[in-house]
């Protein structure tokens, strides 16, 4: 394990650093040049059903239930994605436009979600009832959300505001830093030791993968 960690560190030390975030993999040209960026196709196409505009999948590893977060709510599948049921969400949700969804792997009734005007919301009943957990968050537009699988710390990326951390299950949030210098699409904890006592956070962004330690 130590060799793997060392290799990861050596890989990233040659790359640019932005306020604690390291551009980890930008990327070279195996694929022919394509346009710099257009938002993923399909956001506003005619004829799309409510089910579409998929942003996030999350898996309950204990019973293989799949969840997906869309512009129009949350869906659940208990047959590995063959059929989906829209969840009738309860609680104090301000918006149903979900961008991120995480499931506690050891207690899968506990889930967290985020999105446009969603803030961060928490469920303790497997995704039915949601409570907004925003104490310390600066605004409601939260696109990235991750949970460490063992120490359960949460990270949230708030659009134009930066990266925030909660060590108490969302009850309070503290600002960490500005986050990576690019629009974050997905925030993930890489559950592998850093060798320096922290955890790795990986942000998938418009510029590639960024890595930071917390």
């Amino acid at each position: 394990m130590m060799r793997k960690n060392l290799r990861l560190i050596l890989t990233i030390t040659t790359l640019a650093v932005f306020g604690g975030w390291i551009l980890f993999s930008t990327l070279n040209g195996e694929v022919s040049a394509q346009e710099k960026e257009s938002p993923l196709a399909g956001g506003h196409m005619m004829g799309m059903t409510e089910m579409e505009h998929l942003h996030v999948l999350a898996l309950n590893p204990k019973d293989n239930t799949l969840f997906k977060g869309t512009h129009h709510g949350l869906y659940k599948s208990t047959d590995e994605g063959k059929t989906w049921q829209k969840l009738d969400l309860k609680g104090d949700l301000k918006s149903f436009d979900f961008m991120a969804l995480v499931i506690d792997p050891t207690d899968p009734q506990v889930m967290y979600a985020a999105g446009h005007d969603v803030w961060v919301v928490k469920s303790t009943d497997g995704g039915v009832t949601w409570k907004t957990v925003k104490n310390g968050l600066p605004s409601s537009d939260v696109h990235g959300l991750s949970m460490h699988p063992t120490d359960k710390r949460l990270h949230a990326w708030v659009v134009d505001k930066g990266l925030y951390r909660s060590k108490d299950g969302g009850a309070s949030w503290q600002r960490v830093d500005d986050g990576p210098p690019a629009d974050v699409k997905t925030l993930t904890v890489a559950n592998t030791p850093t060798g320096m006592g922290g955890i790795w956070l990986v942000a998938a962004t418009a510029d590639g993968l960024y890595l930071s330690m917390d």
Binding site: L27, E30, Q34, L40, L54, L57, T188
Partner: protein, 86 residues
Amino acid sequence: MGGLPANQTVYTFVLNPKDPQVLYVGMKDGVYKSQDSGQSWNRVGEGLHNVATLAIHPETGVLYAGSSDGKVFKSSDGGAHWEATN
């Protein structure tokens, strides 16, 4: 170093907890996999586009990919082959 297409958005990232050198990202033109902690990447699978989200089972390594148009795909062989779930 490298192997991912330059100047393209990476929409999603997962790491195999059982083998943390194995990384996957989702991009506009599909899923890319690294088996060496991100030093090199190769596109895996066929027919996937606009991959907005990936999920991995922490024990089995089974992967799910969601495209922005709502389709969900499953791979049981580390991303080499994908089947639509619905």
